[in-house]
Assembly symmetry: C3
Homo-oligomer: 129 residues x 3
């Protein structure tokens, strides 16, 4: 946890995608203060006509390199989320992987009882975590 989905157009190499995932994970671990192996990432690649990403009138120019990152997470503070957004945009753009204008993020909260990490157990409830 969190579960992190990445939606992007086809065209990046597996290596580039791996780099995006790695940086996202590092930024998430730092912002949310979670264990290093708290990593659950899923990538969906799309045809151009399968993604429409505009800007709510904010004047943010998008390219075909746009990435939409969707998290499901336990509750995080506003401060943690702002850190995550800002640092992720900074790191991904600095690495030449995703421009700051091409990064959209959304986060939904769920509850501790909503997670089973394996073995049929609810690890947030049974003292394992």
């Amino acid at each position: 946890m969190p579960l992190v989905r990445f939606d992007m157009l086809k065209g990046r190499s597996p290596e580039t995608i791996q780099q995006i995932l790695q940086i996202t994970h590092e930024v998430m671990v730092a912002a949310f203060d979670v264990p290093a192996r708290d990593r659950y990432q899923i990538v969906h690649q799309h045809e151009p006509y399968e993604m429409v990403v505009e800007d709510t009138g904010l004047g943010i120019p998008r390219t075909d390199k746009v990435v939409v990152i969707s998290l499901v997470s336990r509750v995080r503070t506003v401060h943690q989320l702002k850190q995550f957004y800002a640092n992720l945009a900074e790191r991904l753009s600095a690495a030449g992987l995703v421009d700051k204008n091409d990064l959209m993020i959304n986060v939904s909260f769920n509850n501790d009882q909503g997670w089973s990490f394996g073995q049929g157990k609810a690890q947030f409830l049974d003292g394992s975590l």
Copy 2:
């Protein structure tokens, strides 16, 4: 925002999919009273064995044209949601794109802090929106 995912079987043309997305966007803008460019849509196409869509015993006949639309949104009123469901079914069926029996919709709410539309900012919190 909202983020809108469309799950459907493979087989429609890109043009048909574009029409479904366009109508869904128009209906959403009207029902939720959001900016015209508040458009974030992602399509997932599937093999027949990758989707099972029954009817909870409601007696709704499905075909291989079924579309499941999943939204993540700020809180919307019951009235807004009902408008969205009814108008979307009406418009998509009138256009011959999706039969009313083949349209399933689910909506989840998240919080204002759960959105970064670009540039690493939380635009609902910083006065941009």
Copy 3:
């Protein structure tokens, strides 16, 4: 409802996937006490580099057969969720379909107004369900 998404690597046969879906549905119906036809399942298959599933330090070994199941549901009790997790892991592993260590589940709650099962109606609100 619930809407159930399955993310897994490519490689299983359609028949095997069908068995995973069938067992998941049976366990869900029993744990949540929902109608037999309350079945809405979507499968996403991925390349190896599109999924990273670690273990939050819990010491759960994963293989390339890992399955991530994501539900959106009305509110369920802790007891119902624990039953679902435990019984699903038991049934899928007993059938040789998914090892207990390869099953990760996450559940998010939404509201009754967040569902339209077809025909543009909100069936939890209009007395149909």
